[in-house]
Amino acid sequence: MSGDGIGAAVRRKEDARFLRGRGNYTDDINRPGQLYAYILRSPHAHADLGAIDTSKAKRAPGVVAVFTGADLAADNVGGLPCGWLIKNKDGSPMVEPPHPVLAQGRVRHVGDPVAVVIAESRNQAKDAAEQISVSYKELPAITDAAEAIKPGKPQLFEAAKNNLCYDWHIGEKDAVDAALKKAAHVTRIDIVNNRLVPNAMEPRSAIGEYDRGTGEYTLYTTSQNPHVIRLLMGAFVLHLPEHKLKVVAPDVGGGFGSKIYHYAEEAFVTWASAKVGKPVKWTAERSESFISDAQGRDHVTHAELALDKDGKFLALKVSTVANMGGYLSTFAPAIPTYLYATLLAGTYTTPAVYCEVKAVFTNTVPVDAYRGAGRPEATYVVERIVETAAREMKIDPAELRRRNYVPKNAYPYQTPVALQYDSGDYFTTLDMALKAADYAGFEKRRQEAAKHGKLRGIGLASYIEACGIAPSAVAGALGARAGLYETAEVRVHPTGSITMYTGTHSHGQGHETTFAQLISDRLGVPIEQIEVVHGDTSKIPFGMGTYGSRSLAVGGSALVKAMDKIVNKGKKIAAHLLEAAEADIEFKDGKFTVAGTDRSKAFGEIAFAAYVPHNYPIETVEPGLDETAFYDPKNFTFPSGTHVAEVEIDRDTGAVHVVGFAAADDFGRIINPLIVEGQVHGGLAQGIGQALCENTVYNDDGQLVTGSYMDYCMPRADNLPSFSVATNVTLCTHNPLGVKGCGEAGAIGAPAAIMNAVVNALAPLGVKDLAMPATPERVWRAIHGGQRQAAD
């Protein structure tokens, strides 16, 4: 065969255009007659909106139109919908306030869009926006979620008393309380999962275009899921039928979750293109991304772990306050609930788990899924408390984990928090990671470092994640307002080359290569003759896009189903041409063969016969070779693994250097190991970034202090080590490829591993905990405070 099938480290097809500067990102697209939109955003975190005077701006050079929320309201434009409904402990629905495209009456975070100028050039639009006069009546702001739910604080919405969006829980509270009461040891921690700005390198961009002749709208947008945008924007915001609305997400420069959601700018440019009769383009500047892209994490958590005298986990109790920001972003309510609390059993047999979550509105940018989405937060709680328990009980952290892992023969394993793990082997990935990190040799390295005045620490994290979200019916029962299946169309052309259409979306993941490998492997067609198309609602049957490491597990499974149909049809055609019974036809290595003979037809010959059906079973088989499949997953997939971080800390400066990082992951079957390793590397960088440098800071007035790359510390090449990554394979039992997904693992395991290593290094000084990010200042203060404590 071609050698480009499953398991081959095929070099990526998409690189050919990216390396030559021939990518086609949204801002690279220019439509004839295009105008430019500039959005005037609120400089205040919380204010009542008074009069907006746009008269001077309308007269400015090049200005075509200026719009405010009043114009949208007059046109009956709806608010941005929320895609997931969470119910309170008492069964009542969460508070779901309106989320207008342009502010109506009040602004609730810095960056809330207030007015838009449309002009012939970017600069003209921007200059004219300075001529808009807005009367704001400033209100006190609240940014800290744990503070915001206390009585007497500034209130964002009348319907949300004490800013509470929902008060939700899962698990058996009584059983957990009873276990905590009689436990030999209880470990308690208070932790903060710091808010992050996703920062895909391509800023968001959108172009709306209206065709007067056909009445059709086209939206080009930086999206991870164009069909979902079409559905939400068409049905809820602009009231446009889907057959008159096309959404194209071309090359997209990274997403990490932040490009899942339906954003105001998408609806605005689409609406405005019909108003002004010309295409309208908007592209964010980076400082605008900081105040308009949904942010991530921001949890405040108290957790208690009950253990018996041998370190066996008896129960885990978790209480979390999750910051939603000023409005509900598309999937925000699902993240701290079904994607977080359901993962709190981790890789362990903890028999009882209870978690309650309060989601809170604050005067900050909305928070939603960011790489890992709930699972990094869950892993951070579980792995920080496990490591703390190990230290308190003086048990080796690796050994404590081993004592509590789900045994290898226990699958399918039902956790106490709804999920059923189908497969895994946490012991092997632990051993692999420990070996790669030379865990046994750490003490010697620690002593060596101490000779040079350095503090050295090692930390572990064993994570599990739930990926490939669904089945649709389960997600629906839990509050999802969408299905979570995936589609694939395999169009075999008359000469045997193939175009494959997927409802998933690639924004760095390399689907054009991975999916082509699956096709090459199954149909025997060289990958040079396979084109993978994504990101265009007018070409692709349907799709739910890419997030939650779902593309291969769900989209790849749809592709397998579509190829099954191609092969089955091909067998019928081959049986006719070879004058044999259909049951006797075998398909292998790109050939349809009569079993036990050397009589065969190549895949290309069958394709040709299907499109030129001169000698063809036309009575029973339709011409053509083009099949579509929809696949609804049977369960989540459960990637897992152990990450080991080793750090060295400079006592004088507090600087933390990551001197080693070993990851051992189980992603199920690997299609392209090169791409998988790359996904892990990237996730690790984001996880290490969260642990050591990234932080989103609002001051008390709600101003984003870390609003540019000058102030928000993005991890750079010289902040990071080279990584040791390896995989162990246990197959997913319920999808046809046995795949689990690899896109988020790095960001899930790394923060806990790094912080455990930092605390391990500082523990001899009496430091028991440290908040992320472990910046030099925080570490330095901990070193000095810790020394004083130790001396007391």
Partner: protein
């Protein structure tokens, strides 16, 4: 208040009328349609816009178009020799040094400049050199590998 600016871009003489405030990157993208050079930030931090001006890597968001008057500018579009990738481009492909591709043009242009200035750069030198280029996808691991390999290949006389 347009000013006429002329320069040589990827070996071709070009000119255009620009506002005084037009940045070199805007001239390349919006006037010349060379959209391979990207804009990832507004504070000269990310390096997605790196091009070569008179042989040195420069952030084209930090230079006014008029400052490049008469200059020799090379963008990512001008790096390959026809169908043959530049050795640095080829190394990025071989070592999977790119994912979403957005930072890639700046990374490659920056890397080529490093390889010209430092023969056989060490991992540490590469990581230090890249402090002006941010990538959110790769964790830099494979970029560092690619640049090492690309720099070696350029030594083979193909630069």
């Amino acid at each position: 208040m347009a000013t006429t600016v002329s320069m040589t871009v990827n070996g071709k003489a070009v000119k255009g009328d620009v506002e005084a405030r037009t940045l070199l990157v805007q001239f390349l993208r919006e006037h010349l349609g060379l959209t391979g050079t990207h804009v990832g930030c507004d504070t000269s931090q990310c390096g997605a816009c790196v091009v070569h001006v008179d042989g040195n890597s420069v952030k084209s968001c930090t230079l006014l178009a008029v400052q490049a008057e008469g200059a020799q500018v090379t963008t990512i579009e001008g790096l390959a020799n026809g169908n043959e990738l530049h050795p640095m481009q080829a190394a990025f492909r071989e070592h999977h040094g790119l994912q979403c591709g957005f930072c890639t043009p700046g990374m490659v242009m920056s890397a080529v400049d490093l390889a010209k200035k430092v023969k056989n750069p060490s991992e540490q030198q590469i990581r230090h050199w890249l402090e002006g280029n941010i990538c959110r996808c790769t964790g830099y691991h494979n970029i560092v590998k690619a640049i090492k390999a690309g720099a070696t290949a350029m030594q083979g006389g193909q630069s």
